[in-house]
Symmetry: C2
Subunit: 248 residues, 2 copies
């Protein structure tokens, strides 16, 4: 074995068959699969630290993980060797060495999430794992008016699952957009960080606005309430994908 | 029970977990699931006849099935009731009554297939069930030159699995295009009918041309050979989707 080095992975996954990112006593997670395959590959116990701890059923095109190792294998070769061992719904997109004090939770970053809503009379089987289905008409213009209230720095406590333990619930959303991609409506949020279930609660609230059950201007009241009960329900996980994770 | 009537279904499915369309002794198929759920719903034995007998792993946004029934349930309500019973990777998009002599194999139709190729350094987990992955660069212009030779009426015997029992191997391709959709390359073919494995053999041949192992002009020789061995290998099934089935 050689000197200790720290390796950063870019990890893409289909979250359908996992109990989320975070290692937990029951059920296989993305992190537990990475730990298992890395430990076997490198011949030493390995624990990854994740950038974004996504929920069960949520997908990622490029989440981040780091771990320390004494392997002599060059960091940039680990991606290829690890992909040989991982199940096919997890694929390392890149591996590289970073300084020993580099920690994804302490560096500035910008994450972009997309939540996809499939609008149709019936669900489409080939999109069922990656979209939320609704046959009720959505007023896209109302949803656009509503999402605009979220841009900028706000206390997003109302859009955070109550049991989340965080120092502050203030976050900045740099861009909040609703795009149309054929029959799919895409809610795209870019920010410096997202609270537990934040994107899914935002989408659950936007859906109520799109269905006409709330008006866009309520977004301001919801933010000011600083109370989870003021916002709408948490949207189903499978529509959500972490599409970009930029290190600043 | 009422008078016999014939009902036509538009069926969308994710073929990942099925042994294709056609009922067979071992393994669950799209047709066997439709038969099982329709028989339970209508309280009489039901057998569907399919429009396009797709292979294991191949998907469809709108295949066609017909069956006869004495149910008093209005034909257009069957879609809703049947979707309650079907597994979530099969969804009826429409149901309607057709004349008793209507048969999908005897009417003129136009089918469009799309085969998606994901180009990247590593596979993308969320697209693994719906694309063929390659990290070898593809020369798209060469593939476009090659596919143009297929438009029009030709004997496609070279692009047909040898054990297929058909009266004629002559088919007409109305449109053959290669489109780019981000990192995905889409081979789109519209024709009056496709032989067994025809689209997958065409794509297998186009891939060899894209990788520089064959030249586009060989398409003419392959067509003229009328021999399966002259064409390239059969591309993997998961990249293929029947996207449109138009009745003329």
């Amino acid at each position: 074995m050689g000197e200790v080095k720290r390796v950063r992975l870019i990890v893409a996954y289909d979250g359908t068959n996992y109990h989320g990112w975070q290692v937990q006593p029951n059920g296989i997670t993305i992190a537990s699969e990475l730990n298992r395959c890395l430990s076997a590959l490198l011949g030493e116990p390995v624990w990854v630290i994740g950038g974004s701890r996504t929920d069960a059923g949520v997908h990622a095109l490029g989440n981040i993980a780091v771990f320390d190792t004494r392997t002599r294998m060059p960091a940039e070769k680990i991606s290829y060797a690890l992909n040989q061992r991982l199940p096919e719904d997890i694929r390392i997109q890149k591996s590289e060495e970073v300084p020993l004090d580099w920690n994804p939770r302490r560096v500035k970053s910008q994450k972009t999430y997309e939540y996809r809503i499939y609008r149709g009379e019936f669900p489409l089987p080939t999109r069922r794992l990656y979209t939320y289905f609704t046959y009720h008409a959505l007023d896209v213009e109302m949803m656009r008016k509503a999402i605009a209230f979220l841009e900028g720095e706000h206390d997003f406590r109302s859009f955070c699952q109550v049991n989340a333990q965080v120092e502050t619930t203030v976050r900045t959303i740099y861009e909040a957009r609703i795009l149309e991609d054929g029959p799919e409506l895409v809610v795209r949020l870019t920010g410096n960080g997202f609270l537990y279930n934040m994107v899914r609660i935002i989408v659950g609230t936007l859906l109520e606005i799109g269905w006409g059950r709330r008006v866009p201007e309520e977004m301001t009241d919801i933010l000011e309430a600083r109370d989870r009960k003021a916002a709408g329900p948490t949207a189903q996980p499978q529509g959500l994908t972490l599409i970009r994770y930029e290190l600043l």
